[in-house]
Structure formats: structure tokens, C-alpha cells
Homo-oligomer: 251 residues x 3
């Protein structure tokens, strides 16, 4: 049985499955399709032509763990999902996130509050995007990658499966560490190979490439390939692989 | 409240929980048990004596991300689940997959279209099996392992937790890369240690063993142990660990 | 529509969402808040002031895979969740687990049977806690970490994202291996860096620190930093990072 709050606003040509739950003050655009058991929390805004799959939770309020270091309690803006967005099954997206046009989010992913995701970006299955993170346009973040809080990812970056970002060099010790929390910064078009690990606050420069299984402990140089643990320069990114030489790249 | 389509066919001795959703043209065998909030999409076929846990989604249609490299839009055969299969909570299995007798799938896993899984294989918690992958009989794929698209896994392989497969040496760059997409090929009885990374298209030979945390960049030799990043030969697999010497092995 | 068994006992000031399912003989304390689509299996006990989010499954019975090496079939005690516990969306916790006061479990996590989790411990998003594992007080286990069966984690340990524990040096071969199954043992206040791998049965001593991306193959010494694959001593844990010098530490 469906529960749809009377003060929600729903556009024409609305398709939905069974056991739908729409809380108060939700706004849904035209031509939106929702699966079964979808939960849409209060105030969430969904644009035209979105597809949302089964058992998804949208607009979740963060809970604060009594001893979490980064989450703070305050009023968040509603979750805003723009047009033509696709969201896979069993995914949860928090209040305070903003998802731009044509973003694709796969199954079993989690996107936290204070995250902005740019247009046409792909978020893979089981990916975690922690809070206070910005993600550009045309980014690909693949299956089970972990994007820690306070990360920055610019346009056209590629992050392979099971990559791990970190933001705390002090692993939970000392009070002063809180001043230094910082996720990695990924400059335009850089690429991170599968199952690599990025240390806190490191800068991966434009179009640089990290080979699979590396541990990156220092900032990288543009258009260089890095490999190993700790990652060292291995050579130049081949000309034909540079972002500017891709036919999908728009300046 | 349950929604069961009138043109679905359900065998005797059917047990199910609350909020069940069975779409059109589903066929369910005898002695099947379903948990709460289970979603079974149209045309899905479930054999006798299966157990399916809470909040599972079966028969999901793939969505194509506007810039996905591997997924194509076409008609898929219905999801087919054979006899005595067990499926854990919060798992999603796509239309176009085929799950053989006595397979066990744990919680929070994802199995995509065009995947065949052989008899008595175990798929662990949170495992991802991407599309166009074949998995043999008596395989174990452990928690959170990532099996990329276009992989081949033969009988009796063992894949430890958090292992990462890759299929694109070009990390999303150049058009010609699409000709070379290829996941790893795992020959009969090979074993991959925890949190290891396998590069695209490499062949892990019969009964070879990759130590935990390795990065495998080249094909391996039969019955050899490999270790490190890049993985190098460390020695021979002990006689008593060879597949042919296991009492559970059937030629 | 909600299904609440008549022989469940529910305390005052109960708040819950839609499509709630409470099976027989459940006991829920005062001031408990449940989200939508929550499934609470028979006999589960939930203490006062708990918050449980959408699509959670509590009290799941383990299924035995026909060829699982560790799971055995027997009667388990009911899932017991103490006071002030918070549980995120789409998480599953098994019958036979015991969750102490003020524990925080994030979204999409899985906690198996025969697990005890001490007070104020944090379990991150997508974390897996396998069976027969004990976890102390004030522990942090971060996103997507994998805690294998038969592990021991003492108070104040810190486990960074995507860490992998292992418990079988024989990777599924030989009968005698079953005598040697053993997860890692983490002594008080030790810390494991992101995406590291711990071999079976190793002991990480008090306050020792494993750098990100390491593979730990031997027992460590107290208050030493380890790094690399295989992990070797790199130096001493700085004085100001020792557990005894943290203001949150209570002897």
C-alpha cells in the first residue's frame, strides 16, 4: 500500500511501484518513475524524467554518532535531484546533497550530506561518497570506491573500483588533528587505478595516472604515471590517452 | 500488504512474509520461502526449494548510464534461479542472469545481467558480479570481492575478500580501448588472496595461488605461488593443497 | 501497512514509519524510533532510546551454505540491542548478536551471529562483521572494512576504510586447515591504516600503528609503526598519539 503525503507535489505522467512512501513537502517533476518500496523523505526535490529503482531511500537525515569526528548537527537543505537522473536499487542519498542533470547512481551506493555531484557523472555500485565532498562533471567513480569526507574531485576524473581515499593522517589521535582533516584533491582528468590508496590531502594533478594497487603518499605531477607503494613516477601518460585528445572531452 | 500478479504461477507449499511484490508472469516452484519486502520483477523464474531473504530485488532491468562503456540496451532473457538456491537480504539480481542449483548468495550482493553462475557456488556478502561474466561450479567468492565485467572464472576457484578484478588497461581513455576490454580469466582451482588486484585480461592458471595483497600484472604458471606488487613467483603450491588432493573435488 | 505481532511488547513513546514488520515475541523499550520498511524478526530485544533507520533487517537467522566452512546450524540467542543505539538504513544484523549501549551502526552494514560489540563503538557504512567475533568498547571500524570470522578487537582500536582481515592461511584447501582458522587479534588501542590487509591470526599489539596500504604478515610490537608489504617497522608511534595521552581515553 502506498503512503503519499497530501502536501507533496507530483508532476504529470508519474509512474510508481508498490509500497511507495512519500513524506511531507516532497516535489516531484514530470515523467518520473519510481520502483517498489521507495522511501522519499520530507522536502526532497526530484526533477523531470528521473528513474529511481526499488528500495531506495532519498533524503535521509544524518544521525550523529556520539564520537564522530566530522559530522555536526545542523539544518540541512533538502536533497535536490535534477533532471534525467537514474538511481539504482537499495541506494541511500542524504538530505543536503545535490545531484545534477543526467547523473547515474548504481545499486547499493551511499551519498552523504553536503555533497554536490556535477552533470553526467557516474557513481558505481556500492560506492560511498562521504560528507563535505565536491564532485565535478563527467566523473566516473567505479564499484565500491570509497570517497572520504572533505575530498575534491574535478571534472573528467576516473576512479577505478575499490579505490580508498583517506583524510586523517593521525588515525583518530590528538585533538589538533581536527585542524588537518583533508581528503585528496583530484585535478581535472586525473585517473586512479583499481584498489589504490590515496593519503590525506594529497593532490593528484591534471591528467596524471595512478596504476592499480598503488599507495600514493605525495602530490603528483601533471601527465605522469605513478606506480607502486609508495607510488613513484613510472613515465608519461601516452599522448593518445590525454584528456584533451578524447572525443568526449568538451573544454 | 502483498501484491501478487494474477498471471504469476506459484507452486505448492509457498511461504512468504509481508509486503511481497510479485510482478507479471513470474513462475515460482514448490517449497519456496520468501522474506518480507521481497520484489520479484516480471518474468522471473524461481525453482523448487529456494529460500529468499528480506528486501531482495530479483529480475531488475539494467539501466544504461548515458556514458557507460560496456552496458548495451537490448532484450534480456528472464532471470532464472534454479533449485535449492539461497539468497541473502538486501541483494539485487538482474534480469538476464542464470543461477544454478544450490548456489548461495549472501546479503547485500549484486549480480548483473548476462552472468551465469554454476552449481554450489558461494557468492559472499557485498560481492559485485558485473555483466558478461561466467562463473563455474563449486566456486567461492568471498565478502566484498569485485568481479568486473567480461571475467571468466572456472570451477573450484577461490576468491578471498576484497579482491579487485579490472578490465580496462586504458582507464577510460581512447576509443580503441573498447576492443581490448577483458576481465581476468581464472582457470580451474586457482586461488586469489585477500585484497589482491588482478590486471585486465590476465590468466591465472590452474591451481596457482596469489598471496594476499598482491598486484598481478602477468599471467601465472600452474601450481605456483605468487606474491607482491608486481606479483612474482614465490614457490610451489604444497602438494596437499592441490585441488586434486581435496576430498571435496570431483573430476 | 504495518504488521505488528500481537505478542510483541512495545514501550511508550514509540515512533515508526510505514510498512513496519514486527514478528512474534519482539521486545522494544521506551522512546524508540523506527524508519519505514523496517523488519524486526522474532524474539529481537531493543532497548530504550534506540533509532533505527529505513529498510533495516534485525534478527535475521543465518542460512548455512551447503559448503560453508565456518557456519554451523544451531539455536541462537535472540538479537539484543541495548540502549541509545543508532542503526543506519539498509543494514542487516543477525540473531545471536549483542550490541551494547550507544553503538552507532551506519548504512548498508552487516553484522553476523555470535558477535558482541562493546559500548560507544562505531561501525561504518558497508562494514561486514563476520560471525564469532568480539569487538570492544570505543572502537571505530570505518567504511567498507571487512572483519572476518573469529577475530578479536579490543577497546579503542581504530580500523580505517577498506581494511581486510583474513582467517584462513590455506585458502580453502586441506581438511586440517579447519583446526587453524583464526582471525587477527587487535590489542587495545592499535590502529590499522586504510586498505591494509591482515593475515590470519596475527597479533597487532597495543597502540601499534599500521600505515595505509600495508600487508601485515607477522605479529607487531607495542607502540611501533609498521609500513609496506610485507609490513616492517618504520619507527615509534609519536608520544602525543599514544592512547594514554588522548583526552577521550578512560582507563
Amino acid at each position: 500500500m502506498n503512503y503519499i503525503s497530501k502536501n507533496s507535489i507530483i508532476g504529470d505522467n508519474f509512474f510508481h511501484g508498490e509500497n511507495l512512501i512519500i513524506e511531507d513537502n516532497v516535489k516531484i517533476g514530470k515523467n518520473v518513475s519510481l520502483g517498489h518500496n521507495v522511501v522519499i523523505k520530507k522536502d526532497t526535490i526530484i526533477g523531470d524524467n528521473c528513474i529511481i529503482s526499488d528500495n531506495v531511500v532519498l533524503g535521509k537525515e544524518p544521525f550523529k554518532a556520539s564520537n564522530s569526528a566530522v559530522t555536526e548537527k545542523r539544518e540541512l537543505t533538502p536533497l535536490k535531484i535534477d533532471k534525467l537522473v537514474t538511481i539504482g536499487a537499495l541506494t541511500v542519498i542524504y538530505r543536503g546533497a545535490e545531484i545534477s542533470d543526467e547523473v547515474f547512481v548504481a545499486d547499493l551506493a551511499s551519498i552523504r550530506e553536503d555533497v554536490k555531484i556535477g552533470i553526467k557523472t557516474i557513481i558505481g555500485k556500492g560506492v560511498t561518497i562521504e560528507n563535505k565532498t565536491s564532485i565535478g562533471n563527467f566523473v566516473k567513480i567505479e564499484t565500491e570506491a570509497y570517497i572520504t569526507a572533505l575530498s575534491e574531485i574535478e571534472d573528467y576524473c576516473f576512479i577505478a573500483p575499490e579505490v580508498t581515499f583517506t583524510n586523517d593522517n593521525y588515525l583518530g589521535r590528538t585533538e589538533e588533528r581536527k585542524k588537518y582533516f583533508k581528503g585528496p584533491i583530484l585535478k581535472k582528468g586525473c585517473r586512479i587505478g583499481a584498489n589504490s590508496t590515496l593519503l590525506p590531502g594529497i593532490i593528484i594533478e591534471e591528467d596524471s595516472l595512478i596504476a592499480a594497487g598503488s599507495v600514493v603518499t605525495k602530490n603528483t605531477k601533471k601527465r605522469k604515471i605513478y606506480l607502486g607503494s609508495p607510488a613513484k613516477i613510472f613515465g608519461d601518460v601516452p599522448e593518445e590517452q590525454l584528456l584533451e585528445n578524447q572525443n568526449y572531452y568538451k573544454k
